[in-house]
């Protein structure tokens, strides 16, 4: 029987998984399969510092360069997993090879939703990969009039990057308030305020109907009121879909809604030896009463890559996933930070109650603190994260914030 551990997906979660497997004492054959040609690299800078107007820093992880030798790793970049057979315990690859395994960790991430009809028009991008970032950066360097579709975090960071270079930036958002699902209404408004005060033309409640182009290059985005927003660069940031199409028929349970891998609390994907980690996984979070969640965040990929590897190497002592979600986003020199989960019974905008300018809001569920968002309050946000981690009470959180 094979002893091999295969990690599918060579971004943050996949890299942490192979590192952790070795650290946890796994000495058997270890394979890392990655679809992109680039060695594992860090994605948060792609929509932030990488777009700045100076020499870009390659976002490769420092550990990437020597990881194959350091970890005695069978590293296969530019290779896609094409099938998983849970009965025979075999993984199929785009090279036509089949690899047998004892354990597999699936960390294939997610792909951006695209705009139908945009495939053959140049100047229209999503931002997920380094190659995407290179193309967007190059358009910004050429002075592109930038239009972002979707006022989410990625799109907002790109608008911010365009404004930083003095370029015009327009954001087109279908909902009346941006980010409502991520952070709630009042907080979405506070974030929208940052766009308006920095010269980005944020247009909410608009419906995009199509693209205009000339000679195969985008020239504008058309709206349902008949108007056209001129554009040289269009970035589409309207969410992502888990990369699990290759798992159909594998025996891994996929969520009907979005195709995410449905895991148990140890990140096991429903087949012996098969685990999932990162954007691709929907899992019950022990810290939030076992609520099923899928978390598209750096810290989640970091923690779950580590946890999935520990559990794959030592299933008899498998630990549950119990992390506090955390993300950050940098707009116009301001830092937005969110810890916990936004679905709540009550949201208190503490900064307003205290008459303070820098935004801070707390989220309550039952009698517990379950979330916190802040803008430019880096000293405080992690103190609330610890409270959430320790299942801290709402009363204590309010007292800590100085309100009652």
């Amino acid at each position: 029987m094979s002893e091999r551990l295969i990690v599918v997906g060579a971004s943050l979660a996949g890299m942490r998984a192979v590192q952790t497997a070795r650290k946890a004492g796994f000495t058997g054959p270890l394979t890392l399969v990655g679809g992109e040609e680039h060695l594992p690299y860090d994605r948060p800078p792609l929509s932030k510092a990488y777009l700045d107007d100076d020499e870009p820093t390659h976002p490769e992880f420092p550990a990437s360069a020597n990881m194959a030798a350091d970890l005695d790793l069978d590293l296969r970049m530019g290779t896609w997993a094409t099938s998983l057979d849970g009965e025979r315990k075999v993984l199929g690859l785009s090279t036509g090879e089949e690899l047998d395994y004892r354990s597999v960790i699936i960390a294939t991430g997610a792909s951006p939703r695209t705009l139908p009809g945009s495939e053959d028009i140049s100047g229209v991008h999503c931002l997920r990969t380094l190659d995407d970032a290179v193309a967007i950066r190059s358009a910004l360097e050429a002075g592109a009039r930038t239009v972002v579709i979707g006022a989410g975090f990625i799109g907002s960071e790109i608008a911010s990057g365009a404004r930083k270079r003095g370029l015009s930036a327009t954001i087109l958002e279908a909902l009346p308030v941006p980010l409502v699902r991520s952070v709630g209404e009042e907080m979405g408004k506070a974030c929208a305020e940052l766009h308006l005060s920095n010269g980005t033309d944020l247009r909410c409640s608009v419906k995009v109907t199509g693209l205009e182009s000339a000679d195969g290059k985008v020239t504008g985005v058309t709206l349902d009121d008949g108007s056209t927003v001129p554009a040289d660069l269009v970035v589409v940031g309207i969410g992502v879909i888990p990369n699990t199409g290759w798992l159909k028929g594998s025996g891994v349970t996929l969520d009907e809604r979005d195709g995410a891998i449905v895991c148990d609390e140890t990140l096991n994907a429903g087949l012996p030896g098969v685990y999932a980690a990162g954007d691709v996984a929907r899992f019950p979070n022990k810290l939030f009463d076992g609520e099923m969640m899928r978390v598209e965040q750096w810290t989640n990929a970091n923690e779950q890559g580590t946890l999935a590897a520990k559990n794959a190497v030592n299933p008899a002592e498998a630990q549950p996933s119990a992390a506090v979600p955390y993300f950050w986003s940098d707009w116009y020199g301001h830092r937005i930070q969110f810890v916990g989960i936004p679905q709540s019974d009550e949201i208190r905008v503490v900064s307003k109650e205290l008459g303070e300018e820098k935004f801070l809001a707390l989220y309550r569920r039952g009698d517990r603190l379950t979330g916190c968002i802040s803008i430019d309050r880096p000293a405080q946000i992690m103190k609330y994260r610890r409270q959430i981690m320790q299942s801290g009470s709402w009363e204590d959180a309010l007292a800590f914030a100085g309100v009652s």
């Binding site: 860090d42 810290t299 970091n302 506090v324 930070q337 309050r377 880096p378 992690m382 103190k383 981690m389």
Partner: protein, 64 residues
């Protein structure tokens, strides 16, 4: 064991403070203060967790 912060890389995201609040504290301006540069052996696990959790790889442990 000594903790080293690369202040050029650190942007004050605070993961280290969440992992090891006795060792790290982010300030109001986003800068990071090391509360204890030479933690004891029983703080090693927390220190290592902090190093590994840093999104900007700004932390390292040096064995003197």
């Amino acid at each position: 064991m000594r903790i080293v912060v690369d202040h050029d890389k650190c942007t004050g995201l605070g993961m280290c403070e969440a992992e090891a609040p006795d060792l790290f504290e982010v300030q109001d301006d986003g800068s990071l203060v090391l509360l204890n540069e030479t933690p004891s052996e029983d703080q090693r696990a927390a220190a290592e967790a902090a190093v590994e959790s840093c999104p900007t790889e700004a932390l390292s442990i040096v064995e003197d």
